[in-house]
């Protein structure tokens, strides 16, 4: 029993494609709208997989017994998802706004440190030692008897 019709599959595909495309943009507002559209697509898909159009799952109506009841569980889950998508939307909106206030634009920026590593060919340090570090040795070489704390031959 295929529950998703061809027409609805096209709608879901379009929503997901637009959502993905907007997510890939650099404008934070577009990314946010992408999340919202993706959410719509996901909720619709959730509901569609529950079954083909049917009678609302409400008992005691006039049409009782005449037609099959729609599956209530996906509806309940989709309802939860709708509300949570909303919560996420408002939070992202506030985040984007804050970012705009602080930075002066609402653009997703590249991570500087990552870019720096990507551009670098060789490590700046080897085995935890800076390559250009010179000297800076403290105390006497522990391998020598002079470092034994009580050198008998220390006649200087």
């Amino acid at each position: 029993m295929t529950t998703v019709s061809l027409a609805m599959a096209v709608v879901v595909a379009a929503l997901y494609a637009v959502g993905f495309y907007l997510l890939l943009q650099r404008s934070l507002m577009r990314v946010l709208l992408g999340v919202v559209v993706l959410g719509h697509g996901a909720n619709l898909l959730l509901q569609l997989t529950g079954g083909p159009p049917a009678r609302p799952p409400i008992l005691g109506g006039s049409a009782e017994g005449s037609a099959p009841l729609a599956d209530p569980l996906p509806q309940a889950l989709a309802l939860t998802a709708v509300v949570i998508t909303f919560a996420m939307t408002t939070y992202l909106l506030a985040l984007g706004y804050r970012s705009w206030v602080l930075v002066g634009h609402d653009e997703v920026q590249d991570d500087l440190e990552d870019r720096r590593i990507a551009r670098r060919r060789t490590p700046t340090a080897s085995m935890g030692e800076e390559a250009d570090e010179q000297g800076d040795e403290v105390g006497v070489d522990p391998g020598s008897a002079a470092a034994s704390g009580d050198p008998v031959g220390d006649r200087s």
Binding site: M1, T2, V4, S5, A7, M8, V10, A13, A14, L15, A17, F20, L22, R26, M29, R30, V31, L45, Q47, L48, T49, P53, R55, P56, P57, I58, L59, D71, P72, A76, A78, T80, V83, A87, L93, Y97, W100, V101, V103, G104, D106, E107, V108, Q109, L112, R115, I117, A118, T122, M127, E137, D141, P142, G143, S144, S148, P151, G153, D154, R155
Partner: protein, 788 residues
């Protein structure tokens, strides 16, 4: 008792820093007591153990996982205890006089040395592969800390890291090998594995992995450079860890497992080849060393190769010779290291070129050194000679290609050994023309008595060879003898004039000849060393790994959100998409549409969504997303979900309001400071479209896999009246799945408080400073940094 002794080492080690705070000498003195007690206890147990009754103890520490501390005192363990505890006690006593009151590192050194002694003791008596592994790595860690000292010197840091990297790399592969062998054998008990060795492909792989651990720990070529580098540690530490005991762990493991695996070529072939190569390389490099300590370190590398060969072949006589040489090497090498420590202490140098006339000034020290060096060179009547005779004899008796090749290698190695023994004595004590004689400070008895003990032990055990013979042969008899002659060979000082004695004479003569041309030889070793060196190989590997890490990090972690998301999308398309295509199952009954009203609603939704892609104004985009939302609400109604539609309409309206609140502060148009390139946008579009279509196709295919309505929902429908609700959705939300709803409310609360704090923070900033605070990112300097 055995387990208690091991534990006592570790416990006392923890207490030592407190003692050292009052007196470093007392700390080392106290530390020396425990190994001495262990040695005495082991000596008391020796008659029974050598009689064939090994002492066994076990302690189950995780019985559910079949993990037990199994320990077993047998002949081989006794030999090792002489080195670990006997030599250990001597060196700890020496340390009490070597480290002075002002030594900054003495307190941690004393604790770590005793900790190491305990770990090493545990290692040599372990009768369980995993127990052995734990102690094995503990010794590596102790070595790292002791070589690194306080980490103030680069030489120490580098040497410590190199030692750790190399030995732990080997240790980890050894653990894999242990697991392979242990699982194939069905037991991790070493005595059980030796009694009935497992076979098969997994065991072969396990053997190779174990050998990696052995070769790295015992500094065999090409892993040997970490050992000379580790000479950055204080001399007593080098003498104990990197000559007498720790580096013998690999050799010891070979000796342990040879009775099980020596018949397979994958066991003995790499060990014999690399062992011989190591013996020659180490001996050769020792001839070029100008620092006495480095000379001894290369000598140790060489001797470890020698030992490796003896234990790897798994013959009785070779094993007897190996056990005897193990003892002899521990004794003479400890002596020589302590001599270097004393020489360094009283003269302030270890350089061959700076020492002159010390033999005349300190004849006692020179005599003790001569005894030890003679043992190293294999001169009668010392234990080293007895062991080397047996080794020569073993491979003469074996004959054949392997026996012949090994014999030639051993003689060549012995020539080098004689030469560097002579070089050591000459370098430390000879009067050299053109060098001012040194005037040593008087050495306290504490700096000479301990080294006399080990030096004389080598002489006594050589003179009274049967004592060492009992120990060595008790181990050797666990291995098969090929001929009656081999079975009947006993260690002795004098076997008459035979070929082995002739080979010893050849080695001695050749070595002394080499020593006469020492200057030319030393120059030659240095010139050859510049061409190829294993140390450079190690550095290349490490720097290669670091470059690889930078490369991989740079490729994987590019720092761009679109790139990350695109990668995720690609994987979504690639992995499940391939599965979708391979297992293509398009349902036969796909309806075009269920209700005709879905078509206009669907067109509205799709049109609004597509228009969002083109929208330039923020407000247009937000209105379009609203249209999408309301359209989907309509679809929900058609689907028979009025509650869902109601929630959708409410949420959409609220979201629109929230958007408008923010939009009135933002610019009307989407502001892109760098206009994205068209080609990139097209690529993004194609990727998104393909991903969207994949999801749509998945929806149809997966829903087509359904065969009947969900039965869980029927239960909800049946039980809903009991909750007093007529609306099944509300019954589910507030009753059946009420906990989910509580979770949902929590999410809402968290999001609301997050949103509120972000908004309030902005208002706070505005009130405080009247203007927006500029953060570092977004400034022109930042821009320049990103784009180069």
């Amino acid at each position: 008792m055995l387990l208690a002794l091991v534990a006592a080492h570790l416990v006392l080690a923890c207490a030592l820093p407190a003692v050292a705070a009052r007196s470093t000498r007392a700390a080392f003195g106290l530390a020396a007591v425990l190994p001495a007690v262990t040695l005495v206890w082991a000596a008391a147990m020796a008659p029974a153990v050598l009689g064939g009754a090994a002492v066994e103890e076990n302690l189950a520490w995780a019985p559910a996982l079949h993990l037990t501390f199994d320990v077993r005192l047998d002949a081989l363990a006794l030999v090792m205890i002489v080195l670990v505890s006997g030599v250990g006690a001597v060196i700890l006593a020496y340390s009490a006089f070597y480290f002075g009151r002002r030594s900054p590192d003495a307190s941690r050194t004393s604790a770590l040395l005793l900790f190491f002694a305990g770990a090493m003791l545990g290692l040599v008596v372990a009768d369980d592969l995993l127990t052995l592994y734990v102690f094995w790595e503990l010794t590596s860690i102790a070595s790292f800390l002791l070589v690194g000292q306080s980490g103030l010197h680069r030489a120490n840091r580098r040497a410590a890291v190199q030692a750790l990297l190399v030995t732990v790399f080997g240790g980890l592969s050894m653990l894999l090998g242990f697991v392979l062998v242990g699982e194939s054998a069905g037991t991790y008990r070493i005595s059980a594995i030796v009694a009935s060795p497992p076979t098969g492909g997994a065991v072969t792989a396990g053997i190779v992995l174990i050998l990696l651990g052995v070769l790295t720990k015992s500094a065999q070529a090409p892993f040997h450079p970490w050992l000379p580098a580790a000479m950055a540690a204080p001399t007593p530490v080098s003498g104990y860890l990197h000559a007498a005991s720790m580096v013998k762990a690999g050799v010891f493991l070979v000796a342990r497992l040879s009775p099980a695996f020596a018949s397979s070529a994958e066991w003995w072939l790499p060990l014999v080849v690399l062992g011989l190569a190591t013996m020659l390389i180490g001996g050769w490099r020792a001839l070029g060393a100008t620092d006495l300590k480095r000379l001894l370190a290369f000598g140790t590398v060489s001797q470890l190769g020698f030992l490796m060969v003896l234990f790897a072949v798994g013959g009785r006589l070779a094993a007897v010779a190996g056990a005897a040489l193990l003892l002899a090497h521990g004794l003479f090498k400890a002596t020589l290291f302590l001599v270097v420590g004393t020489v360094d202490k009283v003269t302030g140098t270890r350089e061959i070129g700076a020492l002159s006339g010390l033999g005349r000034a300190m004849p006692g020290l020179a005599a003790a050194s001569a005894l030890a060096a003679a043992s190293m060179a294999g001169i009668p009547p010392l234990l080293g000679f007895v062991a080397k005779e047996a080794a020569f004899e073993a491979f003469l008796l074996e004959g054949g290609l392997r026996g012949g090749v090994v014999e030639v290698g051993l003689v060549a190695g012995s020539v080098l050994t004689v030469a560097y023994s002579a070089r050591f004595l000459w370098g430390a004590f000879a009067t050299k023309p053109g060098v001012d004689p040194v005037t040593p400070a008087p050495a306290s008895p504490g700096l000479t008595v301990p080294l006399w003990i080990t030096s004389l032990a080598g002489l006594v055990l050589g003179l009274v060879a049967p004592v060492a013979a009992v120990l060595a042969e008790a181990y050797g008899d666990t291995l098969p003898a090929r001929t009656a002659e081999e079975a009947g060979y006993h260690l002795a000082l004098w076997h008459g004039f035979n070929l082995a004695l002739g080979l010893s004479a050849v080695a001695l003569a050749g070595g002394l000849l080499l020593h006469t041309g020492r200057d030319r030889v030393a120059a030659l070793t240095r010139r050859l060393h510049h061409r190829v060196s294993a140390q450079r190989g190690y550095e290349l590997v490490v720097s290669g790994l670091e470059r690889l890490a930078v490369l991989v990090t740079g490729r994987l972690q590019v720092g761009s959100l679109p790139v990350y998301l695109a990668t995720v999308l690609l994987m979504v398309i690639a992995l499940p998409g391939i599965g979708l295509v391979l297992g293509w199952a398009w349902p036969g009954d796909v309806p075009v549409v269920h209700e005709w009203i879905q078509i206009p609603l669907g067109i509205v939704v799709v049109a609004a969504a597509l228009a969002m892609v083109r929208a330039r104004r923020r407000f247009t985009a937000v209105l379009l997303v609203g249209a999408v939302g309301y359209g989907i609400g309509g679809l929900f109604i058609v689907d028979g979900a009025p509650d869902l539609a109601l929630a959708q309409f409410l949420v959409e309206t609220l979201a629109l309001v929230a958007f408008v609140f923010v939009l009135r502060r933002l610019p009307a148009h989407f502001t892109e400071r760098r206009r994205p390139r068209r080609a990139i946008q097209v690529r993004k579009g194609v990727l998104a479209a393909v991903a969207g279509i994949t999801v749509g196709v998945f929806g149809i295919v997966l829903s087509g896999a359904r065969t009947a309505p969900a039965t869980a929902s029927e239960e909800f429908v049946r039980l809903a009246p009991e909750t007093g609700a007529t609306n099944i959705i509300s019954a589910i939300l507030v009753d059946f799945r009420a906990l989910d709803t509580v979770g949902e409310i929590t999410v809402l609360l968290v999001a609301a408080s997050g949103t509120a704090s972000l908004v309030l923070a902005t208002r706070h900033d505005r009130r405080r400073r009247g203007k927006v605070r500029a953060s570092g990112s977004g400034t022109p300097a930042h821009e320049k940094e990103v784009s180069g």
